[in-house]
Symmetry: C2
Subunit: 382 residues, 2 copies
């Protein structure tokens, strides 16, 4: 299959590209490298060193014998992405090409507006370019489970059957996102749903949970194929951050009570989910949502898991509650459905002591790269 990977240089985009290349697909990566640029802006850095894009692609070719193509450019530039899609004529477009950090979007007005304008414009451009050049292409869009927020009822997959005053309808699930970033994904979802209806586009919107893990079969083949490992307060996700804190001998910092519950998944499962979406595509005109996560944890549960494994590794791991920089419920009902991907064959890698041990060992090996000053939260919602 000819697959265009937008944002194919990023944390998930890169290992997804390697995996699909390994499987024999023709891969074209498009990336503006703005994620690397954010590191320059913020003074942050991946714990695992990542090499320049062209070099890692070259390395992949040496190791696997497979070629991945790369076009540098920004999907908010329509003339660029329109030409790329016209020339490459993808059968599937996997869209990771967005600003993906909630704290980044909350830095200030500039970052909020940037996040929304960037994400919305990029996605609208993709929809218009599909309509014009490849109306049969399948759009696989990375959304977020955070679009739903934390309602007091079960979270369904994209749609909710409502009975109201004796009448029934299947309606888009109400969204209550909690940052300007999460809002941008909700805006995208509404835009894509509309485009599917009016232009017969086929789209799968993956409402993804928090991804953890540092390695896949492909990235493990060579240190130069590593993907990013972010642990800072802006782009780092909670489990990575806990592992770094544990290895450094710092207390695991929980924002507030720690009852905040979310869906999580292993990066290898993310890639498996994307492959499932590719292989059983949405129909033309169909907008479908898969909730993409394998397990639910509260932040406190995760901290305790890291603490337990830390103790086995002879680390003295403490847990500390700090003031929550975000405005969010710290104790709430949370039950999200995730049966669609499972029923299509997903075999989850559940979070195990083995994985946590391997994560902490990766941190240990790279401990000299850690910048302690980038860990504690400095961006306030209020």
């Amino acid at each position: 299959m000819r697959i265009l990977v937008l944002g194919g240089d990023g944390y998930i985009g890169w290992p997804t590209s390697l995996y699909l290349s390994q499987k024999g697909h023709t891969i074209l990566i498009v990336d503006s490298l703005v994620r690397r640029y954010f590191d320059l802006e913020l003074g942050t850095k991946s714990l695992l060193p990542i090499i320049p894009t062209k070099k890692r692609i070259h390395r992949w070719q040496k190791i696997s014998g497979k070629k991945i193509d790369f076009r540098f450019g920004d999907i908010t530039d329509y003339s660029f992405i329109n030409h790329v899609i016209k020339d490459f004529s993808p059968e599937c477009i996997i869209h990771f090409g967005e600003q993906r950090s909630a704290p980044y979007s909350m830095i200030d007005r500039n970052h909020a507006v940037y996040t929304q304008v960037n994400n919305i414009t990029g996605t609208l451009n993709i929809l218009y370019a599909i309509r014009k050049n490849t109306p049969d292409a399948h759009l696989v869009k990375l959304g977020t489970l955070g679009e739903y927020g934390t309602p007091n009822i079960d979270i369904e997959e994209g749609f909710l059957e409502v009975t109201h005053k004796g009448r029934k309808d299947l309606l888009p699930y109400p969204k209550q996102p909690n940052s300007f970033y999460h809002l941008s994904k909700v805006h995208d979802s509404h835009n894509i749903m509309f485009a599917c209806k009016v232009w017969d586009i086929a789209a799968t919107d993956l409402h993804q949970g928090v991804v953890y893990g540092a390695e896949t079969e492909e990235t493990k083949l060579d240190p130069l194929l590593a993907t990013r490992f972010d642990y800072d307060h802006i782009f780092g996700t909670v489990l990575n951050r806990f592992c770094v804190e544990a290895v450094l001998g710092m207390p695991l910092t929980i924002y507030g009570e720690g009852g905040q519950t979310r869906g999580f998944l292993d990066i290898r499962d993310t890639i498996a989910c994307i492959e499932i979406a590719l292989n059983t595509p949405a129909k033309k005109g169909e907008y479908r949502v898969f909730n993409q996560f394998t397990e639910q944890f509260s932040v406190l549960q995760l901290a305790k898991l890291v603490q337990k494994v830390g103790h086995k590794l002879n680390l003295d791991v403490k847990i500390q509650h700090i003031i929550n920089p975000r405005i969010e419920k710290e104790k709430h009902y949370y039950k999200a459905k995730n049966t669609k991907l499972i029923s299509l064959g997903l075999k989850p890698h559940y979070l195990s002591d083995t994985l946590l041990t391997s994560l902490m060992n990766i941190v240990k090996t790279n401990i000299k790269h850690v910048d302690k000053n980038t860990i504690s939260p400095k961006i306030l919602w209020k």
Copy 2:
């Protein structure tokens, strides 16, 4: 009250400003005049001639003895609007300052992206400027009833009580907008709801129906105080268009079956609703939605009303069904609630033969200004 009217030069913004000025409020209009610029772009024109902004303000001062201030500028320019809000320190901000045409947003990619980026950025800027300068100011935002689409259940005012698998919650009403313009309003609503929650902003989101009518008590005082009357296929609304077609002896053109049902209201009621919102403001941190319309009509019903009144005026009015340029249901359930504004004291001007007669007489008087070529729809959704 110090009231900032964003988009105060427009169809509704102008008569709202006059009315509130007449009532003794201190009015500052901010407008980029982009609506007048769209006319240059599209070759369209208000049927009632409108004079330059500074002149109509001057005229108002002559006639009423009241002063309205005006600042030319674009709210997507944060440094501009931030200074305006800081200097004027409004107690209330009425936000009409958005691109408001569905067909305009569907012209092509440029117009879709412009509409969404313009509307979202402007609204985000207002929210940040309120947060920084006037955290107690009441934001009165013009949304649209079109945010809801046409669900098969009753439309409530902003929120829906859902019982699901034995649990209950009050959730944002699911939105199914039908153009990139309507989508931009949904995006705004989500952004404003979030800002109210995290920054304690007070906001009223008026989900307004289709407005008709050409005159208010204030605009009638002098022909130079007239507000716009749009009848073209891009900015004209259906009732205005029918009146123009009737007077010209053209058939009333119904898009498709004509079962499309929407909420409608008289422009005088729009202004009354805004005054109600001003006088009973949202509380700090509250995001509330009022459905702002007084009656529901299908397009076919409206056509028949115009036909009936046309016959009384000795006009030979025919009805013609043409291919629908939009993708929308042409026959559907529609029942929207509008009790909040009524319970706060709104006394509706229902659509009457008298009003239709007066509209058609306005058209007659200005018949020489009509450009027939701008009436039939040329912008296709598909």
